[in-house]
Symmetry: C2
């Protein structure tokens, strides 16, 4: 599967062709939420190949920036993400996938269900601090 | 407001200090969802100053990559985003803000409420196409 090059702004925003705008690093941002609850699970990245594989297989494939490799989410952990819906944003540089998570239902490598397990708050002196 | 440099992985993931990991471009990814409905509104970026201003003012400030400037969301459109909750992910390179949107409640520059107004589907020959 290949993706056509992005056209002019009007087509990018109003057209019905998927023409992803990969950044200088070859990536688009991908946001994964839980299909049932809507909870934000993770934010990751996809290159051309991982986006194509995600569309072709219906399972989430990312590009691991830290390992610099294609990453079939759940291949080792069992936490496969089945894509129930994929959406793209106005300028086609961000993808939103709504997923069902297999295995133990977790998503974060720390063992949590979501990667966003800490709130940003402020101490009385204004300093930001994190709360679980 | 300044942010301490990120510590070791254990502190980054389990610590209670906000030590954002800005990328080589000086940015973290920011996901904004509607505080009431949970709807994904937009994906944008924050540099050090926009993150600090967002925390200090309680309103969303982004870094516009296309205009290369600090961007107080809604300053011209009236679509100010008031931050009801901010969360950070495991490795502190992505921020999630849950917001209430002022003005007409819109978020996307195309006039839609959310930037993610198109679904990715597949034609009968497998080609991806977008549906509204």
């Amino acid at each position: 599967m290949d993706f056509p090059a992005p056209g002019p702004k009007s087509e990018l925003e109003e057209g019905l062709r998927l023409t992803p705008r990969f950044g200088p690093d070859g990536l688009v941002t991908c946001v994964a939420t839980d299909h049932e609850t809507g909870e934000l699970l993770m934010v990751a990245h996809m290159n051309r190949e991982s986006l194509a594989r995600t569309i072709e297989t219906g399972e989430a494939w990312y590009w691991s920036r830290s390992r610099a490799e294609l990453w079939h989410k759940g291949a080792t952990s069992g936490q496969i993400q089945t894509v129930r819906e994929m959406r793209i944003d106005c300028d086609q540089d961000a993808v939103w996938i709504r997923v069902s998570v297999a295995g133990d239902g977790g998503c974060c490598h720390t063992g949590r269900r979501s990667c966003f397990y800490r709130r940003v708050e402020r101490a009385s002196d204004g300093t930001p601090l994190l709360a679980v």
